[in-house]
Symmetry: D2
Subunit: 377 residues, 4 copies
C-alpha cells in the first residue's frame, strides 16, 4: 500500500552514530521505510537491535550474503530498493560491489573504498550496471552550500581566482601524544583505515566540497603532511596546495591536532567580482563579500535563495536546521532519483565524487612522500 521506498541498511547497529544519522535522514521526507538489513555481525545483537528500533525482524539477516540471496528471492515490488552501506571502511568496497552487481541501488558512506584501485574497480562495475550510486558527503546537503554552488554557477562572484578550505578538528590530540594510545587506535592503523588518517577522513570532505561548489577540477597538488611522531604511521595534519590552472590556485588545510577545534570546516571562495564564505558549525549563514557594497548575509528559506537551496529547507527563516537535515536532503535527492523524478544534479554526491576522492587521498600522500612536490591528479 505504502509508496515508501524500501530501504535496507548494512551496519549502523549498537551505539553507531552514523546509523542514527542515516535512519533519521531517511525518515525526514516521508520517503523511505526501513525494511531490514544486517545491523550487526553478531546475530543476537542484530535482531536485538532491530527490536530496539522497532522494525520487524523477518528481513533482518544474519549476514550480508544471506541478505542478498534472500532479497533476490522476493518479488521485485517487495525487494529492497536501495541499501545503505554503513559498515567499517574496508567492507564498503566488497559490499557495494556485490550490491551493484545484484541490481540494488546503493547509498555508500565515505570513504567509498580503502584504495584508489578499489575505487576504479567499483566505478567500472557501476558503469556496467544501471543502478544508482550515492556517496554521503553529508555537508553538500546544507541549503546554504547549495545556494553557494548556484551563486557561483550563475556568476555572482565572477571567475574564481582563489579557494581556501579549512577542516580543523582537535580530537586526536590526546591520543597522539600517548605512545600506547597512538599505537592502538584503529584510525592510526593503516591496516584498518587505509593509507591516510587526516586527509582520508576529513581532507576528502574538503576536496569534494571544493569541486562540488566551484565546478572546477583540481589539476595538481603539493602536500605537506604531519605525522608528529616517528612511530606514527598516519598523517594527522596536512596542508595541500591546489592548482586549478596556471593562475588559479587554492589550498586545503586539514588538521586533527588543532586542539580545541570541534568540526571547524570552512569554505572561502573568491572570484573577480566577490567572495563567498561558509562555516559548517554555523551552517545557516552564507557570507557574500562584494567590492563596493556591504557584506551580505544570506540565510535559508528566503525567497532570494535559489530553488535548489529552498528545496532543502523545511521551515521558514529563523528556524535553524542542522546536519540531520543536511543528510535528509541527500536522501531526498536519492529518493527522487529512484522514483525517476526530476532532480538537481547536485542533489547527492555520486560515484564520481567517491572515485575522485580516493585518487586525491593517494596523490596527496604521494606528494608528501616524494618530498612535497607537485603531483597531477
Amino acid at each position: 500500500m505504502s509508496k515508501k521506498i524500501r530501504l535496507g541498511i548494512l551496519g549502523g547497529g549498537g551505539d553507531s552514530l552514523i546509523g542514527v544519522l542515516h535512519r533519521i535522514a531517511s525518515s525526514m521526507y516521508d520517503s523511505y521505510q526501513l525494511v531490514g538489513g544486517v545491523f550487526n555481525p553478531i546475530p543476537e545483537e542484530n535482531t536485538g537491535f532491530a527490536e530496539k528500533i522497532g522494525i520487524p525482524t523477518n528481513r533482518v539477516y544474519n549476514d550480508f550474503d544471506t541478505m542478498i540471496e534472500e532479497e533476490l528471492k522476493l518479488p521485485e515490488d517487495q525487494r529492497m530498493q536501495v541499501v545503505s552501506v554503513l559498515t567499517p571502511n574496508f567492507l564498503h568496497f566488497p559490499m557495494a560491489k556485490k550490491l551493484i552487481e545484484s541490481g540494488f541501488n546503493v547509498i555508500c558512506e565515505k570513504p567509498m573504498t580503502t584504495s584508489f584501485e578499489e575505487a576504479q574497480i567499483l566505478k567500472e562495475t557501476l558503469d556496467k550496471s544501471d543502478v544508482l550510486f550515492a556517496v554521503t558527503y553529508t555537508y553538500t546537503g546544507y541549503p546554504m552550500v547549495r545556494q553557494m554552488k548556484e551563486m557561483i554557477a550563475s556568476g555572482v562572484i565572477g571567475k574564481i581566482q582563489k579557494v581556501d578550505v579549512q577542516y580543523y578538528q582537535g580530537w586526536i590530540n590526546p591520543i597522539i601524544h600517548d605512545a600506547e594510545k597512538r599505537a592502538n587506535t584503529w584510525r592510526l592503523d593503516p591496516e584498518k583505515g587505509g593509507i591516510s588518517c587526516c586527509i582520508g577522513d576529513i581532507g576528502t570532505h574538503g576536496y569534494d566540497m571544493i569541486e562540488y561548489l566551484t565546478g572546477l577540477e583540481v589539476e595538481s597538488i603539493l602536500s605537506d603532511l604531519n605525522y608528529m611522531y616517528s612511530d606514527n604511521k598516519m598523517d594527522i595534519d596536512g596542508t595541500v596546495l591546489l592548482r586549478f590552472s596556471e593562475h588559479v590556485k587554492g589550498l586545503l588545510r586539514t588538521s586533527q591536532i588543532a586542539t580545541g577545534e570541534e568540526n571547524n570546516f570552512t569554505v572561502s571562495i573568491y572570484g573577480e567580482k566577490g567572495g563567498l564564505k561558509w562555516e559548517q558549525e554555523n551552517p545557516n549563514y552564507l557570507y557574500h563579500l562584494t567590492e563596493d557594497g556591504p557584506l551580505k548575509v544570506l540565510k535559508p528559506g528566503h525567497g532570494y535563495n535559489s530553488e535548489f537551496s529552498l528545496d532543502g529547507t523545511k521551515l521558514p527563516p529563523g528556524h535553524p536546521e542542522g546536519i540531520f537535515d543536511s543528510m535528509g536532503n541527500i536522501y531526498k535527492g536519492v529518493a527522487k532519483a529512484i522514483r525517476k523524478e526530476e532532480y538537481h544534479p547536485g542533489e547527492f554526491p555520486t560515484m564520481n565524487d567517491g572515485f575522485r576522492g580516493m585518487n586525491f587521498i593517494e596523490r596527496v600522500v604521494e606528494s608528501h612522500q616524494k618530498g612535497n612536490v607537485w603531483v597531477k591528479l
Copy 2:
C-alpha cells in the same frame, strides 16, 4: 512485533509545516510509529495525504469522532497510545478534552486552548484522568536550553536578579500596513485566533521559557501593547514588565513588526554570580558571563554539560543540530513517560505550562486595556 509507540495525528496534512515538524520529531529516536489519524477534514485529501506520506490508510479516519470510536474498538495493544493535536487553534480544546476523557495520551500544539476558561476546564479534565498530557513549547527541547536550566538550578549564576527575554519577528509588517490584508488575516481576527496575536503566538513561548529556565513564577505583570492601527483588533507588538518579587524584576519583549527579524528569540538571565544568554537562531551556543573571568561559550555534546543536556544531543560537538532535533527531544521525553521509563521533569512541557500560558495571555491583555497597570498572575 514492533515496540514502537503507536501514534495518531490530528491535522498536519497538506503543506502543513507543523505536520512535517511533528512527523520528523516523532521518528527521530526510533520510538514512534505513525499508525493513523485525521490529517485533513476533506476525506479524499485525507487519504491522499496518507498515501503521499506512505502510511496505510486503514486507520486514517474521516473525522475525529469516528477515530475515537473506532480506535476504542481496537484491543488496547493495537490502539493508538498517543495522539498529537495539530489542528487549528480553536479545535485544540474540544479534541484534547475528548481524547483525555477517552483515555488517550495527548501531545498538544500551543496555544493549548483559546481562552483561560477552556484551559481551566482542560486542566480539571486531566486531573481526573490518568493520561499523559504534553504541550509542545518546542524551544525547551534544545540541549543548550536544558543546560541553561540545569546550571541555574545548580546555582552557577546564584540568585536570579534580572530576566530579559526577547521574541522579535517582522513577518506581519507587510500585512499590517495594508488595510485590506490586515482585515483579512486570520491571525488578526479574534474570532479565529483568540484575544491576542503577538502575545498569544510568541509571547507565551517567552513566558514559558522564563519559568522553565528559572523555576521562578511571575507574580504580576504590566503590559504595553501596540495595535498600530485603530481598526486593527489584535496586538502585534508588546512589552511586558515582570515582577517575580519586590526586588526581582524582568521583562518580556515581543514584536511582529520588528521588520527584517526572522525568529529572534533570545534569553538573558542574570544572577548574583553571573549571567547566561541564549539565542534561538544560534541554538548551539550558551554564553556564560562571569564577573571576574572570561566569557565562556558552551556548546552541545561536551562532557562539561549536564546529563540532561547531553541526552538531547545525538552527534559529537561541531555537528549542528536544530529545531527538528529540539522537537525530537520533546517527543523522546514523552516516549519515556509513556513507557514508564525514568525521565527528567523538564523533558517536555506539561498541562501546567499550557495552563499558565493561557492565564498569562489574558492578564497581559487586561493590563494593557486597563491602561498599563499591574495585574497579578
Copy 3:
C-alpha cells in the same frame, strides 16, 4: 604661529580616565593645543600633573575662579578658546554657567547638571550668550552611528515603528549586595550623584541616542526602576516604556546589575521598510535588515557610507577604530564650529541634548515613584 585651538581643561587630573579620553580626543585631528586649566584642587598635585603630561605650568591655575580672572586678562588671541569641564558632576553647573557668562566656549561632560532646574538655568544662560556649548555624549561620534542616523533620515528603513535600546552593565553587582559598600559608594548617594544612578549615568546615553538617531522626540514615558534593597536610595536598573505617538512605541532598558556585562549598549530601530542595529562593543558593524533581501553589514570607511560617516573615519576599511576615535570626532566637530567652518548638525551633542536628558531623568524617577504611570516629557 600655531593655528591650533587653545583648550583649557577643568578636572581630569591624577588617574582620571575621562581626562585621558579628552586629551587624546582633542589631539586626534591636529586641532587643539592644551594650554592650561585646573586639573586638581590640590595645588601641588595640579602642577605636578601638568608637568607629568608635559605642558607648561604658567597657565595651570590654583582654582577655577583664578583661571577665569587671569584668562580674561589675556589678549583674546591668546586666551583659551574653549574649556572642557570634566570635574565631579555637581561642579558642572556652576562652572559651565560662569564659563558661558565669561564668554568661553564649553565642552561639558555628562550629566550636564545634577537637576533639571539647573539645566533650565544653564540653557537660559546660554541662550543669552553667543558661545558654543557641547555635551559629550561620546557614543554619537562613532562612524556607524552617524551612518545609521543618515540612513534613517534618508528614509532607508521608512517610517519608524519600533525602537528598542539596551544599556546593560554589571559593575554595581558586587557593591549592591554588600550593605556597607552600597552605603558608601558615591554613585549611590543622592547628595553626590543626583536623584538617579542607573538612568542618570547610562539611561541618558540611551535616551540621547534614540532622539539623535531617529530625529523623533519621546512624548511620554512609563518607568519601572529597581533599587534591590530597601536601604538603597538609587535605582540600579530600570526599564522605560517610550511613546513617540499613539502608535509608535519603544523601550529603553538599562541595568547595572546585569552581572558580567561590560558596556553592552545596543540600539535597534525598526521602520516600515527595514531595521537597523548597532552595538557599542562592536562599533564598526552596522546591521541593516530588510524584508526581502539578505542582511547587510556595513562597515566604516567604505564609499557606500554617507559623507558624514566617512568624515569620522581616519583609516581604510579593516583598520578598527574605537571609542577614543569616537570622542575625537566630537572634538573635531567642535573645532569646526569654533573655527566657523561648515559642520554637520549631528557632529556634536549640544545644550538641547543635555537639557532634554536632565528632564528625562527626573520624569523617569517621577513615573516610578508614582507607581509606574505615564508621564509626559
Copy 4:
C-alpha cells in the same frame, strides 16, 4: 619645562594616512611633542603642512640632510630625541642609516629596507651605535595580542604544535585585472616596491606576528606565490608552508585578491593543551580553546589579563579601543625605553624583527622561483 620627548617626523605630510596614525599614536600617552621634521619634499607644501597641523615652522626643514645638520647644532636638551621615518619605502634605509650614525633614536615604518642586503648593513650600523631602533609592526601593540603572547609564554596552551596565520585583503583585485592599471601601480613595480608585493607588504606582518607570539623561529619555508598575469612582476597572493622543526609546522596565507576582504588578519595557534585565536578586525576578543572545557573569550582591561596586556588598555572593559591605540602602545614602549624606564621586551618591535622580515621576503620569493621547494631561513 615640558618633559615630553622631542619627536621629529620624516614624511607623513599631505593626506598621508600613516602620518595621521603616527601623530595620534605619539600623542596618546602625553609623552611626545612633535617639534619638526620634513613632511614633504616640496618646501611650500612642507611648511604649509606644518601650519595646517599647528606646529611651529622653525624646525620644519627643507630636506633630510639639512635637518640632520641643523638639529646637531642644537644643544642636546633641545635636539630631537627620536625621529619617525614614514617616507616611501626606498628611503627608509638611507635615512635610518644616517639617523643612527648621527645618534638619533629611530622609529621606522615597515618594510625597514627594500632588500635583505640593506637590512644587514642597517643592522651592523645599529650594532655599532647606542641608539634605539623600533620598527612599527603596528598589530603587535594590541592588548589581546600581548595577552596571547604572555599566555603562550606561560604555557597555557602547552607546547605549540600548529600555527596558521592568514592575512587576506582584496584591494588589488580591481587593479590586477586591468592591464593598464597593473602596469602603472607603484606597488606592482619592483623598482619602487622591492621584490615582493603581497609577501613584502602583508606577509611580513604575519611572519613577524608568528615569531612575536610564539617565541619560536621559523626554520625553513616552502612557498607558492600567484602573479595571476604573465606580465605582472609582483606576487599578489601567496601561501607559505612553515617548519619550526621536524614535527612542528605551520602556514602563512596571504592574499590581495581575496575579493571583498578588508584587512582580514587572523592568527590561530594550537598547542598540546589548547588553542588561541585572534582576529585583527575584531581585536578586542581573544579566543581560548580548551580540550575539555567551554571556549573562553577574553577581552581587554579585565583583571585576568597579564600586566603587559593591561598596560596597553586605557579604559575599562567594554570601551573598544582600536588600531590607533595599538600604535599608541608601541610609541608608549619606545618612550619608556628612551627615558630608560623599565619596559617589557615585547613592547615594540626592534631591528631584529625588521631584519628577519627582510630575509623572510627574499627566501619566500626564492622558494617560489625555484619551483616551490624548501628553503632555510
